[in-house]
């Protein structure tokens, strides 16, 4: 039972950064923009949040710093992709490389000591219920915040006018522009939101999950988040489920290493990447479902005609 609880809670925690990053990217892609730079934004978020903690700032401020760093990084992408109409693949790649460089540069002075991780909350009665307490009510606040964000984003995208406009812009920016919506401005907001979420994801990794600074500590989680959005066929609930699936994979793989299964640890570590490929292949078979939710203008630059 203890093992089950450990795997369950571990899965939820490991999924949290993926939920932040992938939900953020979902909103960006729903507006018709493809930002490949999640890895870079996450690393910026991780580095700045860790820096803030070392500098003695309180935890919420540090996490906010990480989120803002991600947003600032996304603005670089936004200017190129939205104002300068560049190839979005190339701009996103540049951001990924730039973010990894900046974070490594900052992180040089961080040392290798762990910090005091974000504290888990303890609710008076709920946390003490046997089994249910440790399973659901002893996480740090960011875990709950990630799930809250899932509800907020689902509600925004499908139950508000703002969400409808955002999705319209993703399907046909020409139409939205003709009706009079400020396509570029709304896309900027979406990109900034994506950056904020990627920054949060990175901050969570460095101040709660690890909580250590290691160069390139995201280890592909940004790219996996991109894959999650495809896997989810651009639907929020599937993003959440997908993140849990990958979180579970990470934890099982770690448990496997801890139990000393006779498979080399490197090969176990390769499992999440391998799983990403397999899942992408499976989901890509269903062209109809992909086409149904795929934002039709994804990654196409839009220039408002005057």
């Amino acid at each position: 039972m203890d093992l089950f609880i450990a795997i369950f809670t571990g899965t939820i925690i490991a999924a949290t950064p993926l939920i932040f990053a992938a939900l953020g990217e979902l909103v960006v892609e729903k507006s018709g923009v493809l930002n490949l730079g999640i890895e870079g934004m996450m690393l910026m978020g991780a580095a700045f949040a860790f820096w803030a903690v070392i500098a003695g700032l309180p935890m919420p401020v540090a996490i906010l710093a990480g989120a803002l760093a991600g947003a600032a990084a996304s603005l670089l992408f936004g200017v190129l992709a939205l104002s300068f109409l560049t190839n979005q693949y190339a701009a996103g790649l540049a951001l990924a490389i730039f973010g990894s460089g900046v974070s490594a540069f900052l992180g040089r002075g961080f040392g290798s000591e762990p910090i005091n991780a974000l504290k888990r909350i303890h609710l008076p009665v709920l946390s003490d219920i046997p089994v249910v307490g440790p399973m659901f009510f002893r996480f740090d606040p960011m875990v709950y915040f990630a799930i809250l964000m899932f509800f907020v984003i689902s509600w925004f995208l499908y139950r508000t006018k703002g969400g409808l406009i955002l999705r319209t812009i993703g399907e046909s920016p020409e139409t939205a522009h003709a009706i009079g919506y400020p396509v570029i401005r709304i896309r900027y907001l979406a990109v900034l939101f994506g950056g904020l979420m990627a920054g949060l994801a990175g901050a969570y990794l460095s101040v709660a999950y690890t909580p250590l600074w290691v160069e390139n500590m995201t280890a592909g989680k940004g790219w996996i988040s991109l894959a999650l959005v495809v896997f989810a066929t651009w639907r929020p609930l599937r993003v959440l489920l997908g993140a849990w699936l990958f979180g579970g994979m990470t934890i099982l793989q770690l448990q496997g290493q801890a139990f000393g299964i006779s498979i080399p640890s490197e090969l176990l570590s390769a499992l999440p990447y391998l799983a990403t490929i397999i899942v992408l292949v499976i989901i890509s078979q269903n062209r109809q479902m992909l086409a149904l939710h795929f934002p039709a203008s994804l990654a196409k630059p839009f220039r408002p005609s005057t």
């Binding site: 190129l80 300068f84 560049t86 701009a91 460089g101 490594a104 080399p264 390769a270 990403t276």
Partner: protein, 341 residues
């Protein structure tokens, strides 16, 4: 005008670089000198410049073939690693370690292994409709782990004091440097050949033309009956072969053995080189030299000024940002729109 953008981007990168150095409290002129001039101010420096430019140019040539057709292989780093593993495997375990055939066999092994690694995303994209960006990238992580496993486990040098590295390759499995004072070796000729082949392919062959059409106007390509899958296969295999050979040249050249870290990110930097070179063979040569200088400069300021070599990646990112932005001003003209038109 297409040539103007890279030049402007380089100049702006230097400008931002000097501002950055000034902000960090270093004298910008001295630091720029230490970053960009001192490393190549000697014959050894020039040899190092070519040594590092060679894999960058080689890989960028292969990648550009795909990029022209909108085939996004961003996993050259993984293909390089697999190529190096295969080549090193041949070099270490070939039954006749003094055979003159060894080196050519290793080139072949590197190329085939790189192509095999790239064939996975090619097959998945062409037949299974799977996005090649994510697959090539995931395979890069897997390749890194595979390398780590080999050098920590089955291929670890028993006489290597437990360091995670393979035994040194036998002399016949290594490129002899032109001059033993420097590290530059004949593997640069492979790169020269690749540049010529790339130019012939893209500018003088029908398949190259078809791929260009697939990239620039996919619908036109389809109407003309050009098969998309042949562009995908050609693009990915070209990148895989180039990266695999580059990996072979690293292990049979400056490295001499495998260790967990065999590339300082050549596979990723080559993507930028391909863009700076405008996906054109001769542009890529210039782009590769510039990128090589960024690598050398990063190492130099790390050694001499104690600055992090992560600066290299920052400069790479900034350079690509500026290049993309400069393109905008080259391809579009800004015009003021009256407020109340």
């Amino acid at each position: 005008m297409r040539i103007a953008a890279p030049v402007i981007a380089t100049a702006l990168t230097l400008l931002v670089g000097s501002l950055m150095f000034a902000a960090l409290g270093y004298d910008p002129v001295n630091t720029l000198q230490a970053f960009f001039i001192a490393p190549v101010n000697s014959i050894n420096g020039l040899s190092e410049l070519l040594l590092k430019a060679s894999p960058l140019i080689l890989i960028a040539c292969g990648l550009a073939v795909g990029f022209r057709a909108n085939v996004w292989n961003i996993g050259a780093e993984g293909q390089l690693i697999i190529g190096a593993i295969a080549a090193c495997g041949v070099g270490l375990f070939y039954p006749a370690p003094e055979s003159p055939l060894l080196l050519p066999l290793m080139v072949l092994a590197g190329a085939c292994a790189g192509m095999a690694w790239a064939a996975i995303p090619a097959f998945l994209r062409a037949r299974m409709n799977t996005n090649e960006i994510l697959v090539t990238l995931m395979l890069t992580y897997i390749a890194t782990l595979l390398l780590s496993w080999l050098v920590h486990g089955p291929w670890r040098d028993p006489a290597g004091f437990n360091y995670p590295q393979t035994a040194m390759l036998p002399p016949a499995a290594m490129f002899d440097p032109f001059d033993y004072s420097y590290r530059l070796n004949p593997s640069v000729f492979i790169t020269v050949a690749a540049v010529v082949i790339m130019w012939l392919f893209t500018d003088r062959s029908f398949l190259g033309y078809k791929m260009k059409v697939s990239g620039a106007a996919p619908l036109a390509a389809r109407y003309a009956g050009f098969r998309e899958s042949s562009a995908i296969w050609t693009g990915l295999l070209a990148g895989g072969a180039a990266a695999g050979i580059a990996g072979m040249a690293e292990v049979a050249g400056p490295l001499g053995q495998l260790s967990p870290q065999i590339s300082p990110g050549y596979g990723f930097a080559a993507i930028i080189v391909a863009f700076i070179g405008r996906l054109n063979a001769f542009g890529i040569v210039l782009g590769g030299l510039l990128m090589s200088l960024l690598f050398l400069g990063g190492e130099a300021v790390q050694m001499n000024l104690g600055l992090s070599s992560a600066l290299t990646r920052i400069f790479q990112g900034i350079l690509l940002f500026f290049l993309l932005a400069a393109d905008f001003f080259v391809f579009y003209r800004l015009r003021r729109i009256p407020e109340h038109a």
